[in-house]
Every structure is written in C-alpha cells, then in structure tokens.
C-alpha cells in the first residue's frame, strides 16, 4: 500500500490500486498511440500526462515550434560482433518495440532524419558493454535509436548523455527470446539542457531486461520507459535514481504492461532533492491485463528531500484485471533529511557534511550496486559527492 511520511509542503504522494474492467491507464492519455505528431493535440498542461510538466520550459518540443537546428555528437563503442547501422525511416525494426504515446514522442518520430540500429546478434554473449556517448553541442535534435538484442544474446548497454541541447527521442529495445539486456542510461546534462524521451521495451519469451536510469543534469528531463512482453516468462527490473537540484525538473514516467502470462516486473526508483524549486515527478503505471495470469509485480518510489523548497509528486498506479496473479504491490514514500536527523548523527561525532553523505549514500546504495559497470558506479558516487558539496 502507499505510505507517506513527513511529506514536504506542496508535495504529493498519492497511490491507487484499481481493479478495473477496462484500463484507465489507456483512457487517461489524451490521444491513442500514433507515429504521427498531427494525431496529438498541442497540450495545454491540464492533461493527465502533462499536468506536472512545465510546458514553457520544453523549448517548443510540445507545440511544433521546435526545429531541428542543433548537433548531437554520437559515439558508439561496441565489441566486434555488434553491428551499428544508420538506417532510413521505414526500416522494419523502427517502431517495432512500441508507438509514441504523447505529442513529443510523436514529434521526435516525425522529425528524425536517420535512425541508428545497434544489433547484438543471436546467441552473442558480450563481455564488454556497448557504450553510446551522446554529447549535445547546442540546439534542438531529434533521434531514434533501436537496440536489437537477438535471441539468447546477452549485452550491457551504457547510454551516456552529456553537454547542452534540446533533445527529443525514442529509444527502442527489442529483447529477443531468452536474451538478457541490461541498460544503463545516464542523464548527466548541463543544467540548461532539455531532454524528453520515450523508451519502448519489448521483452521476448523468457527474456530478461534490466534498466538503471540515472538522472542528474538538465533543466528539464522527462523520460518515459514503457515495457511490454511479447511472450510468457519475461522479466523486467526497472531501477532509477535521480538527484534533483535547485530549479531542475526531473520526471520519470513508467508503464509496465503485463499482457502475457507468468511475467515479472520489479520497479525501484529513488530520488534525492535539494534546493529551491527542485521538482521530481514519478509516475508508475503497472497494468495487469486479463491475459496475464501468474504475474508477479512490485513498484516502489522513494524520495529523500534534503532541503526546503523542493517538491515531489509521486503517483504509483496499479491496475489489475485478473485475480490469478502471484503478487502485486506498490509503495511510495517521501521523507526528509531534517535538522533532527542531522543533530542525531552529529551528536555521535559525525561531522555535518559526512552525516549528509552518509544519509544520501545509504539511500542510494542498493541501486548503485545494481549498475554493475565499475566506471559508471564510481562516476555516480563522485557525482553525488559533488552535488552534496553544493548543498552545504
């Protein structure tokens, strides 16, 4: 069940478990999924899927005024067996994992020029990660990337976003039958960047998908990972951590659509916030369809508010259309690191800055361990240190 502790002023921690004949997740969207931007009305901010997002800071991505005038330097390093192609729109692999569900995702789809397809061939077991470095050099860019991890292949993909720019993109992950894919996506943008991206994950029969979304930077980041299952036996672990600073808007919206039987999903997102007008939004939609008997799912969002002036909106939402499941649960809690906690730790000899570090590191520890890519883990820890220095 949803629990809430010590909620900072203005923040919301709402939760719902609905047993519904018909999905409200689908009906809450203002238009059905489509590849065509014209099928979506320009949002005015009152729509369910836009109500937390500051539209004025989207730099025109939402209303058609943004034009592709920027550069995003892309570098992909991959083991030899992996192929990297630049393909034309119309390639059969594009859009196979999912369809844009909101106007910006559709805008990105309508506006990209060439897509990148990264293929890990059947049964290839990679010993080194595929590394994708995207460095924004200003201006607006649209992108589409497909990761095609074929049957029984195993891969780790690290996507690293740095620099400045306005970016709208769709990223497709095709996880073949029996394949194992781990994705680490780091949003380490400059504080001026805007990044809106929909991730479409299609998990094959008995396949495993794990993602760790790490968001630090940006003026506005809005990520929308969506998971669907192509067959029974699939497993998804969706982890996320974010550190939202003064003035930043970081939004993570997730959908796990259980349509196939005997699949699992586990969602854990944790965020720390500090500074005036730091705003984190977390929406976790989990849908268990009538056909999905044997589903086992759990989703959790925790937020740690380090200073006054930060705001969290956390909305877990679980819809169950069949009773034949193994388990389903959700939790959301927002707590604050307050003067009393600081006093308690200090009264045990621990200096103030170390006390804050202890709390934040402890809070993130279980997720940092999930990354499994040493240099990213280290970078993350040092990033947390730097963020904390800024707060004292």
């Amino acid at each position: 069940m949803a629990e809430a502790q010590n909620i900072p002023a203005g923040s919301t921690t709402a939760g719902a478990i609905a047993v519904a004949a018909e999905s409200t997740v689908a009906t809450r969207m203002s238009a059905p999924p489509s590849f065509d931007v014209a099928d979506f009305p320009v949002p005015n901010g009152r729509e369910e899927e836009w109500r937390f997002t500051p539209l004025a800071r989207l730099r025109g991505l939402h209303d058609g005024t943004a034009v592709a005038n920027g550069t995003m330097k892309a570098q992909i390093d991959a083991p030899d067996v992996v192929t990297v192609e630049s393909v034309e729109r119309g390639d059969a692999r594009i859009g196979k994992a999912g369809t844009p569900v909101d106007r910006i995702a559709a805008q990105a789809f309508s506006s990209f020029t060439k897509a990148t397809v990264v293929t890990v061939p059947k049964e290839a077991v990679l010993t080194e990660p595929v590394r994708v470095a995207l460095h924004g050099e200003g201006g607006t860019t649209f992108g589409h990337t497909v990761f095609d991890v074929q049957a029984f292949a195993e891969a780790v993909v690290v996507i690293d976003h740095t620099g400045d720019g306005v970016r709208a993109a769709n990223v497709d992950f095709l996880v073949g039958d029996g394949a194992k894919l781990t994705v680490v996506s780091v949003q380490d943008w400059d504080d001026t960047a805007v990044h809106v991206s929909q991730h479409n994950v299609l998990i094959g029969r008995d396949a495993t998908f794990k993602s760790i979304i790490v968001t630090f930077g940006g003026d506005l980041v809005r990520l929308h990972p969506r998971v669907t299952y192509a067959g029974p036996g699939g497993e998804a672990e969706l982890f996320g951590l974010y550190f939202t600073d003064a003035g930043q808007h970081q939004e993570h919206r997730l959908l796990v659509d259980h349509s196939a039987p005997h699949c699992k999903s586990n969602v854990v997102y944790k965020g720390a916030l500090q500074g005036q007008d730091a705003h984190a939004v977390w929406i976790g939609d989990v849908l268990i369809e009538k056909t999905a008997e044997g589903t086992d799912t759990y989703e959790m969002n925790r937020n740690l508010v380090l200073t006054d002036g930060a705001r969290v909106d956390s909305v877990p939402n679980l819809e169950i259309e069949t009773g034949e499941i193994v388990g389903a649960g959700h939790a959301s809690a927002t707590g604050r690191f307050d003067d009393e906690q600081l006093f308690y730790l200090q009264s045990r000899g621990i200096p103030a800055d170390e006390a804050r570090r202890l709390v934040v590191r402890g809070f993130f520890a279980e997720l940092v361990q999930q990354i499994g890519v040493d240099d990213i883990e280290e970078r993350l820890l040092s990033k947390i240190e730097t963020e904390l220095q800024g707060s004292v």
């Binding site: 740690l304 009393e340 006093f343 308690y344 200090q346 009264s347 809070f363």
Partner: protein, 257 residues
Amino acid sequence: MATLEIHDLHVTVETGDSATGAREILKGVDLTVKQGETHAIMGPNGSGKSTLAYSLAGHPKYTITGGTVTLDGEDVLEMSVDERARAGLFLAMQYPVEVPGVSVSNFLRTSATAIRGEAPKLRTWVKEVKAAMEQLSMDTSFAERNVNEGFSGGEKKRHEILQLELLKPKIAILDETDSGLDVDALRVVSEGVNRVREGGEVGTLLITHYTRILRYIKPDFVHVFANGRIAESGGAELADQLEAEGYDKYVKGGATA
C-alpha cells in the same frame, strides 16, 4: 580526570509565537559531574531536564543566554555538536531520531570512526558490536535495519545504550532512558549502563522522572530539578524522599517564578 562543569546556565527556546518570543527554560543551572560519579537528576514533567540534556549536546533549537559549560576546562559551548561528541560527551536521547537510508551497522561504524579518530579494525569491530548487541538482548538483525526506523520504544532505548557501550564517552547524559521500558527491558538496559560505569571512566548524568531505575543504577548524588534549576541536592536518600513525597513541594515553590 574528566570533569563537566556547568555554571549558572541560562537557556531560552524560540516559542514560534512572535508575541511571546523566546522563553527562558533553564534559569541558572549549576552542576559538576566528575569521571566515575553518577548523578541522578529528577524532576517533574516540563521542568527543563531534556532542555539541559539537549543544551549540553548542542541542539540548535536552544539558545544559551548565560553561563558556562566546560569539559576538562575546554569551553563546550564553543564547540559544534559533533565536536562535543568527539570531546567525550554522549547523550542518550529521550526520543531517538529515525534516520532513513542509514543502516545501524554503517551508522555505528561511522560514529565509532569519528569518535575514536580511526576506523576500528573490521574483524574485532564486528565481534565487538555483536557481543554488545547480545548483552542487550538485541537481535543481530538490527544491524541491517535503518537507524531507529520502525524500532519500538524499548528497542530505541537499547540502541542508545548500545552506542553508549561502543563509544565509551567521558560524560554520559541519559535522558529518561527508563521511560517506556518494561521491567525486563529496564534491567537489561540498566545492566548495560552499569557495565559502562564499572570501568570507572565515565561520569553519568541520569535524568529520570521515576525512582524505579535507581534500584538498578545507584546514584552517588541526587538533584531535584524544578522550574529550570536545581532546587535541592543530596545523596541517594533524597530519591527515597521523592518517592514518598513526590515533587509537589518543589513545583509549588517555584511555579510562578
């Protein structure tokens, strides 16, 4: 020999009400606690006992408006909260604070490292913590839980005494460590305090509302605290007198001061 000297201590607290402003809670406290001694401070609710404890530990809510506090001649009031702890002051709190995200084991080790000035050797440390927990009848699974999160009242108190045993302060201030404990827990916790006292190296300031705990922890001195100051001091026999007569005499005497 460690000595805590409190002289004419005055403390106010912000009421949050602009008409009232700051309210004086401590009105001239004088007390000297030496290594090896145990002082019981007894007094009615609201008399300022916790205020004294928190002020000594340096809680930011309280403002010192007069007087001095020294530990072995060093000015305690000049020190930050963590400096006081490293200088040898320890406060077992009446209401220990929950710290989400920090495990007890990580907390204890970080704290011991800060107080001892170096990280304790991992092997001996693990044994030390385990032994101390067992003596306090704490399940070792507490080590993996978050600090005080979801602990019962009695578990929180045991956790405070666990820290007392591991951190070995020069001066220990125990604020109503007995409150909310059943008889068994009271005995376990008192034994913990006595183990630390037996070393003869700690001066203890035992704050309590009831005489019950004094059957387990024998004080050398008893002070009656009323209306923000020490109203009377004596030996252990003063506790028996309070047990029989209550605080009425002190409360009425100073209620409108």
